[in-house]
Subunit: 353 residues, 3 copies
Amino acid sequence: MKFEFTAARIAQALDGVVDGDENAKIVRVSKIEEGREGSITFLANPKYTPYIYTTNATAIVCSKTFVPEHPISSTLIRVDDPYSSFTKLLVFYQKEKEQKNLKGISRKAHVSWKAKIGKNVYIGDFVSIGAHAEIGDNCKIYPNVTIYPYAKIGKNVLIHAGAIVLNDCEIGDNCILQPGSVVGGDGFGFAPLEDGSYMKIPQTGNVVLKENVEIGTNATIDRATMGSTVIDHGTKIDNLIQIGHNVTIGSDCVIAGQSGIAGSTKMGNNCMIGGQTGVAGHLHIGNGVQCGGKSGIFADVPDNAKLMGAPAFEGHEFKRTYVHFRNLPKIVKEMNELKKQVAELQEQLKNKE
Amino acid sequence: MKFEFTAARIAQALDGVVDGDENAKIVRVSKIEEGREGSITFLANPKYTPYIYTTNATAIVCSKTFVPEHPISSTLIRVDDPYSSFTKLLVFYQKEKEQKNLKGISRKAHVSWKAKIGKNVYIGDFVSIGAHAEIGDNCKIYPNVTIYPYAKIGKNVLIHAGAIVLNDCEIGDNCILQPGSVVGGDGFGFAPLEDGSYMKIPQTGNVVLKENVEIGTNATIDRATMGSTVIDHGTKIDNLIQIGHNVTIGSDCVIAGQSGIAGSTKMGNNCMIGGQTGVAGHLHIGNGVQCGGKSGIFADVPDNAKLMGAPAFEGHEFKRTYVHFRNLPKIVKEMNELKKQVAELQEQLKNKE
Amino acid sequence: MKFEFTAARIAQALDGVVDGDENAKIVRVSKIEEGREGSITFLANPKYTPYIYTTNATAIVCSKTFVPEHPISSTLIRVDDPYSSFTKLLVFYQKEKEQKNLKGISRKAHVSWKAKIGKNVYIGDFVSIGAHAEIGDNCKIYPNVTIYPYAKIGKNVLIHAGAIVLNDCEIGDNCILQPGSVVGGDGFGFAPLEDGSYMKIPQTGNVVLKENVEIGTNATIDRATMGSTVIDHGTKIDNLIQIGHNVTIGSDCVIAGQSGIAGSTKMGNNCMIGGQTGVAGHLHIGNGVQCGGKSGIFADVPDNAKLMGAPAFEGHEFKRTYVHFRNLPKIVKEMNELKKQVAELQEQLKNKE
């Protein structure tokens, strides 16, 4: 996407000072070691200082206090705090890149005349919005999205291509649904019958995402059997994650890719869950819980616990235990040696009698 | 979605008797501890009896024999078996909620004139149905679904938004495809060449789902290299599951979320597979096999085995073994103590000589 | 899909000789044990020889040197190398099956007038192609695909239904995107704020797939924060895999289903990764690395290492260690026995004094 600014314009956006060519043209953001003509990059970590003398980046955001020891060919943009300025720069870049002309409702979309659409909304090609659905102001809905009847989408929500929100589900303000994510598929509920087959238990509830929730690409959040599956504000769900029916997740949790949380489990606030973790159903996970990648949580977890392993237990303990696990061949060998020695001792004592 | 009935109407549907206000208005189904005005809930498990006196639910389904010990403000609907009545109620609720006006073929869909469409079919916006595809009577196909040419869909099949059925695949009567599920993507088959690269082996087979199979959200069932990948009747596949090419799964199995079954494995009937389980390729899994979450199955499994762990073995044995695993630091400490004691004994005996 | 050829026509395609009915009609490819009327099958592995006398297949591809010991009812197509001929046959079959009439741009698609479309391209129903996107010659894009603005698709690329390529991403020549796969969703990057909440870090980079890459059904490849997430030529990614932001994967790797590679990890060439493997972020994985299913890789891996387990270590060592793990109950019992014996020895020695 087109992005082209002068060093001066970027310095202005970052509240910085240009040291070099004010008219230098910037077209992309790069890491310092990958900088090339047209790149802007940054120096925050002193470890990367040597790169500032060798990079081909056109411009570099650095500290006002930075004193070069060698000549630098790049234009410098000097700021108070290069790290936070760089995040600012990324946000600036993103906003500029965003397709400002993505406005209005595509003539190739289908919006039910019974749906309620807010102001300043973008609805892409082949988006289907069902009857009685509500879309808040400033939403952007990319192509091939399906919004079922009676779904409720808040304000400033970004819904990427192919995402699906099923009937009755509620998406809070400022949420982001990455491509292909599904909110409100049926929970996995079946009643066993006497002949060994299963009867589907209708999943009559919904999903509620509070504000500022992000759902990753192709992730799935199941609707509740009754009531709601709830994800509280600020929680970030990575790609290919499954959240089961009637799960409740607190606020400001970060759950990494391919994790799964089974039905009816309640998780507290501010948890950090490593990738490919599985949490069994009907558990209580406290606040501030952290677990490593590939953890398997099969029991309740108290506040602020740090876990590893499957089944998971305290992380440092797991690491110590795993060292012994790896030593098992040596441990068994030593034990066999001990057995021999004890047998010899027994023999010797017997002979003494 | 709108749902509004009087207590009397619901009692009639459940073959029950109203004890209280016949005209009480019911708009939703809730758990007893979450009941509020407009809710109907139920009391089956005696453990929840205290809630019946405190809930704000408008109506409660309970046993004909229930005798309250305190005053109850809710209207009671008395039935013979509250548990089974409640499932009946969910089914009733679901049917009423289902969008009865979802009938006919959206003018924004594209149905090939060479496709064969049954009676009483709903086809949503932006559904593409290819040439020679067949859709049975009473199917409901939600928006943005793609049915490739020569796919065959049975009767009463429900296909949610974004699901995809590829060419030649066959979906049995009464199946449900949850949103974003894919039936018939290519199996993962590549022949290594001498230069280290891979040649794609064409996947010329198909997928056959028998009757009453349910495929979860964003789950993937790969087509066979030759012949068919088969899932037998009544089997339920949860979200984000991968079934590899040429796999055969028996009838009435329940496979929980994010599990994967690699190519050419054959699984029997009535298996229960915990979430995030992996089954390697070319294995035989018996009938009635059960395994815990996160199991890794790398060898054939006999009928009725119950497994845990990765690599998996008998479940109770795994639990016992895992207790010892967690004790490894203590075990190693004890062994070091023993070593010391044996060395002392050896020393003492030597001194005696 | 229709496929119908005589034995003579297939023999010609395979450079083989018909031994039997030249006009025998072939309509499908089958395994030898599943052959039925209309099937063509093959005999390469001598282990399957008995089937050649009992199969109902209409035709069998076998070696020119094969001498039957019993009468055979099927028509034989004799070739120099039955194994490689059979792959050739599958390719022939696939080409014939491919819908040759899938040409041109569906009138139900939407192609931005600012997009650049190559020659001989198929674009299916409800495909959305954004402004400034580029589609190379001979691409096939199935229904309900979304190509964001500024995406670049090479030549001969096959994109199955529901797949999504986001802005600025580049897909090399001859790549295959299976249904529902997503290239270029946002990486999972959030900066923690003082109040415990998270700020989204804009993901301003892209994804680059080099030539001959295949991405499996519902798999997800995240865009880089800055720069590119890169998958080098010939690498095959199975279903439901997550590749994190800024990951680099070398050429000719094969990564099996449901694996995940976390952000910024660099993997070499010719790696083979078993299903459900997790690789942590910021690691270096060498060339030619192999790991078993369900591995958890939490540290750098040298070239040509073969790993198992989670955390993973050398595979043979893991297997030996796991045998001891399973023996832990016996090991503990033996140690308790030893403790008793040592105590007795101590007692006896004491008594002697």
